[in-house]
């Protein structure tokens, strides 16, 4: 978001020699077109990336059913190349060394060609369900990037908490698109879904490589190298596809197919617009918000009503979207406090907040591990016999405990870190919003389908032949975690406010002493 300085955690408040603090680097950034992000620029980049990613997700879902994965990789790489040209054109400068173009080349082959191919090759006609694919290829990728960025920062705990909260919110959101939902992660297509996450890791590497290039002032060259790497990677995949007979000329047709390529071009352009500001938090946040943006499309469709009644559980969808936005706010980089005086809360309150936050995290973890809700299945099997079963959903299969864990980790991070007070207030406000809407989406089951209920019953869920009903609320452990997080946050804020008041008092006393001394001096 900004190119503000980072600081070390050496308790001296000394600025780390970083990209934007160094005059040499700053001038290089300015020469290469890297710029400080204005809120408008970030918003524009986010909108372009959001629309491009949402459109590529929707069109990819439509196109992959009749087109081979290799063809999808080719059009994705082509789209990425066009996206790079839209933002940078053909750069005139030369790379400053082998690494400056070779590393982006390989990262581009991975992120622009291999990652889309890996996603598409693991999609079947109607499986895994679209909601799972959307979650695993947008929100999860955003969370992976957010965690990678957080680990490299000095606010890692709160930002990881933000990523967790946003991810849990996104999961709760897609799980409320319909009830019973087909959203059931890591139940039926575990290898396929893990490979989609692996594709996300490859994409994160690409974004980080481009981010580092942006901070070195060579984003244009690196982007072009990455785009060429993507084309080369897609060429290899196409050659393999041609040799194995899985790719043919007929694959390169259809509105959805070409629309997917155009959407990828815009998504790449949006990505580069955001990376030009030498910050990738906006990229992570945007990816986490893709399910929410697609939900808005569904709401518009509901208003127009072309496809009949809308199946979304609206209050829960809105609450989950609010949680996601709150998580995105928290995972955003905030410059840490430079003056240790106001950064540190009063000792007793600070320690108290840390202890309470640790207990809240522990409580959330217990909430994940204990039975939380009950599912009851009634159905008719294909042999005519009736089937009835009841089973518990553990906390990790329900949204509430995950949201609680995210908030508890954020509270712990705020208690531990010496973040600028303005940033603390922003995070506290986000957390209060998330806690306020928690109850609405907390009882969202994240797994409807299981491995043990007969498949002929599960396939009929929602019809007159079978139904599944959920009962119960999130456990008291989850509620305790939320309460603990809020309490820890309150203690931290009170401690920081007290420390600030003390410092102000000390400074005023100091000034008074100086005045007194000065008067004396004057008198003398």
């Amino acid at each position: 978001m900004t190119s503000e300085t980072d600081v070390t955690r050496d308790r001296k408040g000394r600025a780390r020699p970083g990209p934007s603090s160094s005059p040499r680097v700053r001038s290089r950034l300015q020469r290469s077109g890297a710029r400080s992000a204005t809120p408008l620029g970030v918003a524009l980049g986010m909108i372009v990336l959001l629309l491009g990613t949402a459109a590529s997700s929707v069109l990819g879902t439509q196109a992959h059913q009749s087109v081979s994965a290799a063809a999808m990789a080719v059009v994705a790489a082509g789209g990425a190349f066009v996206g790079v040209l839209i933002v940078f054109g053909l750069p005139r400068a030369r790379p400053e060394g082998l690494a400056a173009w070779l590393v982006p080349l390989f990262a581009g082959a991975g992120g622009f060609a291999f990652a889309p191919w890996l996603v598409m090759v693991n999609r079947y006609t109607d499986a895994p369900p679209g909601s799972e694919v959307l979650f695993l290829t947008t929100s999860s990728w955003g969370a992976l990037l957010a965690i990678a960025l957080a680990v490299m920062s000095c606010e890692r705990v709160s930002r990881i908490g933000g990523a967790l909260l946003a991810l849990a919110g996104a999961a709760a959101l897609v799980a409320n698109w319909e009830r019973p939902s087909s959203f059931s992660l890591f139940v039926r297509y575990v290898p396929e879904e893990l490979q989609m996450l692996a594709a996300g890791a490859v994409w994160v590497v690409l974004v980080l490589v481009l981010l580092w290039a942006a901070r070195r002032g060579s984003l244009g060259i690196a982007s072009l190298s990455a785009a060429l790497g993507g084309l080369a990677g897609a060429g290899v995949l196409a050659a393999v596809g041609l040799a194995s007979g899985t790719l043919s000329r007929a694959d390169f047709s259809g509105g959805g197919f070409w629309g997917y390529g155009i959407a990828v071009a815009f998504a790449t352009a949006g990505l580069l617009m955001l990376l030009r500001s030498a910050s990738a938090e906006a990229v992570a946040g945007t990816y986490l918000l893709v399910p929410a943006s697609i939900s808005l499309i569904l709401i518009a469709e509901w208003v127009v009503g072309p496809l009949g009644p809308q199946p979304m559980i609206l209050p829960a969808v809105l609450a989950a979207a609010a949680s996601t936005i709150a998580g995105v706010v928290v995972l955003w980089r905030v410059s840490p406090e430079r003056v240790s005086g106001t950064g540190a809360p009063r000792r007793v309150l600070g320690v108290g907040a840390t202890v309470v936050a640790v207990l809240a995290v522990g409580s959330a973890i217990v909430a994940l591990a204990v039975p939380t809700m009950t599912a009851t299945v009634n159905g008719l099997r294909t042999d005519g016999s009736q089937f009835r079963a009841a089973f518990d959903l553990y906390g990790y299969e329900v949204a509430g405990p995950w949201l609680a864990l995210g908030m508890a980790v954020i509270a712990l991070g705020i208690a531990l870190e010496r973040t600028r007070l303005r940033g603390v207030f922003a995070r506290a406000a986000a957390m209060v919003v998330a806690a306020g809407v928690w109850w609405i989406a907390a009882d969202t089951p994240l797994r409807t389908l299981t491995t043990f209920i007969p498949s002929d019953v599960q396939v009929d869920y929602g019809s007159e032949f079978a139904r599944i009903d959920f009962a119960g609320d999130p456990s008291v452990w989850a509620i305790a975690a939320i309460g603990g997080a809020i309490l820890a946050l309150g203690l931290t804020l009170a401690g920081r406010a007290g420390a600030r008041a003390e410092q102000a008092e000390t400074e005023s006393v100091g000034h008074a002493d100086e005045d007194t001394t000065g008067s004396r001096g004057d008198r003398s």
Binding site: R156, L185, Q386, F387, A389, A390, V409, I453
Partner: protein
Amino acid sequence: MRRTLTLLLAFVLLVVLALPLAGCQRKVTVLTGEIVLCTAGEVIEDNTEEVQVPAGDVEQYGVTTRVITCDEHGDLASMYAAAQKAIADGDLVTARERLRTIVATDLTYRKAASQLAEIDAGSRPAVDSGSADAGTDGTDGTDGTGGTGGEEPTQPDETPVGPVVSLTRYVPDTIEGYVAQGIIADLAFLSRQYLPTAKTADQLMIEVEQHVNADAAVAHQASFVEGYPDSATSKTINGKTVMAGVNGQYAVGIFFDGPLTVAVELHATGSSGAAALDAVFAVVQSITK
């Protein structure tokens, strides 16, 4: 301290994030056992119970339904049949005696009450030629949804109307060894499910379809039987050429009657439907008399 906490938190989060992949062996409460129904729709025995089983074993449990004619309704059925025969023979004294006995036991049994009232009023009631197994209140099913109070039985809503009614002759209320269920009718198609009383099969379905002409019906017969490629055979029954075959547990026999095709499909409880072919032919024999 802060660094230790952060590392500890990172480790815990890694373990927690692996939870959805690891899963856990849980217990599931399932309903299992058998429900015995009378052909009149009453539940005679409910031998079901809830048991807690490991998740991996859930698929083996379920509730089966067995349909029998209980002693009480068996007696009523034979007495009702005797009453109908007496009405047909003009022996209204015997008919009245039989119907009074039935009404004393079950006021809502088929048309017994209304026929008795007609006889008491001095008129001769029409013979009820419906299924002898059909139960209380004139309904034929096992769903027990019949009315009470001896009212005149009403036709179920799904009773077909219009031209498709002419197809109903192939889905009679009574087929020996089967309990008829409701008719599902479309404009030119109807089907009826029957529950076998024998244990060798658990479902019988008869589907009657109206085609444009006889040639279309013959073509449909040939294409339909292609879906049942095993144990393919054909047989002429009551002048109808029945083409038959098996696919898995399903045995089917299909014949045409002018522009109509009639498919008789049995689902065998054994591993193959081949053993049910004779039963299919027997059903065809019954409905083409």
